[in-house]
């Protein structure tokens, strides 16, 4: 019985150590930060493409001032927001970042829609190249966002579930992280309005 009891006790202790999730929490916290960096990185990549794109469109459709300026302004707004890992701790800052990027997405959508009206622009090699790059970047953004959403959902679960919530709260002082909301997904997925 003694042997049995000791074995059982030690095994329970090992299981208990796993159960508190100290390492898991640390690891997944780091994972969410990495996923977030990837999101920011891809948004930055998109912002870098825009000056060239605007210049190219201007060459063919200079009188579409409103749309062009809309893109430039939305870009300035999006890049003007300082993003740090601290942004993740502040839901308001996160919301601001998200809205600025969504604004840029819809401004860009309008710009691409306008290009449809200019056959010469559409045929321009430079424009087609920029458009491929923009499409590629939008796709990467979608992937990076999805990964971030998955990571944060996993992280938030650990922060809330018992008993890992105790470790998170009292030992590591970790809070839930903000995630991209469904309402935001809708605005991103919504096709841009085209006015004639």
């Amino acid at each position: 019985m003694g042997k049995f009891g000791i074995t059982l006790l030690s095994l329970l202790m090992i299981a208990n150590l796993w159960g508190c999730g100290y390492n898991d929490l640390q690891g997944i916290d780091e994972d969410t930060k990495a996923a977030w960096s990837e999101v920011v990185n891809q948004y930055q990549r998109r912002a870098d493409l825009i000056p060239n794109l605007v210049a190219t469109v201007k060459g063919y459709a200079a009188h579409e001032k409103d749309t062009l300026e809309g893109v430039v302004q939305a870009r300035a707004q999006a890049t003007g927001i300082q993003v740090t890992p601290e942004t993740l701790k502040d839901p308001a800052a996160f919301e601001k970042f998200q809205q600025a990027q969504a604004g840029l997405t819809s401004a860009l959508g309008r710009l691409i829609a306008i290009a449809e009206n200019y056959p010469n622009l559409k045929a321009d090699q430079n424009f087609r190249d920029l458009q491929s790059q923009l499409e590629g970047t939008e796709n990467r953004i979608a992937v990076a966002r999805k990964r971030y959403i998955d990571r944060v959902a996993e992280y938030n679960k650990m922060v809330r579930y018992f008993p890992t919530n105790l470790t998170a709260k009292f030992l590591l002082h970790l809070d839930e992280k903000p995630n991209f909301t469904v309402a935001d997904e809708k605005t991103v997925a919504k096709p841009p309005e085209v006015k004639f």
Binding site: F4, R128, Q133, A142
Partner: protein
């Protein structure tokens, strides 16, 4: 007797219909049966064989894994998300260097995509992918030459990513097993702990202790996933039961169990060695690449 058979037949039909209905809801990722998965049957056998051998030599030389998937239809699934799903499910490319590429073609939608792994985004850029689609593939597809377009596209991809990685750096075990080592380790550790505990505890109340062992195996392996936890518990219970059977000298009743247990682990390991076919090396994809239509 015949009524029983009819009932059984009806049950099988119902199950089959349910299975088909379930699979129709979302387009499943097709199994990775080779480097060229031609579900639309557009490639003549000789072209497919030639391309396969080109892709093979390329992988042997550079460790880049390139695969082609030709689908009759996307069934309404968005091209980009499906292509990403296929590429990440197949895990093309080596783990760590993520040097895989997928060329996906959907015939009915007349759409295609080159999905590029993280590690090749620097050489096979979105722009280069778009150019391959625009200049190599689309003109041939428009002329009705599907095999020629696919071959030209594959060769352009291989030419672009040639020299970005070298095969010598490849730990060969990694390119073969598509299994995540950490997941697998949990299961192995779980079974080991479970069996050991079960053996230590198995004086006296044998079957109850065996159950305790499998419970422990479940506890450890469920860190990987719930299903694997159950699997580990099952294997542990089976192993413990077999060991207890042999220890009791219970071979008289079912003599074949003893030798079976001895060959058991060998057979288990054997099911993982998918050396004959082609399998992904654990590469990851971040959405790089380009799409196009014809």
């Amino acid at each position: 007797m015949s009524r029983v058979w009819r009932k059984l037949a009806r049950l099988i039909v119902v199950l089959g219909v349910m299975l088909v209905a379930a699979s129709a809801l979302a387009l499943d990722v097709p199994p990775l049966t080779g480097r060229i998965v031609d579900l639309a049957h557009v490639l003549p056998a000789d072209v497919a064989a030639l391309l396969t051998s080109d892709l093979e030599t390329h992988e042997a030389k550079t460790s880049n894994q390139v695969a082609v998937l030709i689908l009759p239809s996307l069934d309404g699934e968005p091209l980009e998300s499906f292509s990403h799903r296929v590429a990440t499910t197949w895990k093309l490319g080596r783990k760590g260097t993520d040097n895989g590429v997928l060329l996906l073609i959907a015939l009915r939608e007349r759409k295609m995509r080159i999905e590029v792994g993280y590690g090749l985004e620097g050489t096979l850029t979105d722009l280069r992918s778009a150019h391959i689609i625009r200049n190599e593939i689309v003109p041939r597809f428009r002329a009705g030459d599907l095999p020629g377009g696919i071959a030209a596209g594959v060769h352009a991809i291989l030419g672009t990513i040639e020299g970005s990685y070298r095969a010598e750096e490849v730990p060969s075990a990694h390119t073969r097993t598509g299994q995540e080592p950490s997941t697998f380790q949990y299961v192995l550790v779980g079974i080991f702990v479970g069996v050991m505990a079960g053996l230590v505890l198995s004086h006296g109340l044998q079957y109850t202790r065996a159950l305790l062992g499998s419970a422990l195996a479940f506890l450890v392996a469920q860190f990987a996933s719930l299903v694997l936890g159950v699997v580990a518990a099952g294997i542990t219970a089976l192993l413990l039961w077999l060991i207890l059977q042999t220890n009791r000298g219970g071979r008289g009743r079912r003599g074949s169990w003893g030798p079976d247990f001895m060959s058991g682990p060998g057979g288990f390991g054997g099911s993982y060695s998918g050396d004959i076919g082609f399998s992904g090396g654990g590469g990851d994809f971040g959405g790089g690449g380009a799409s196009g239509d014809w």
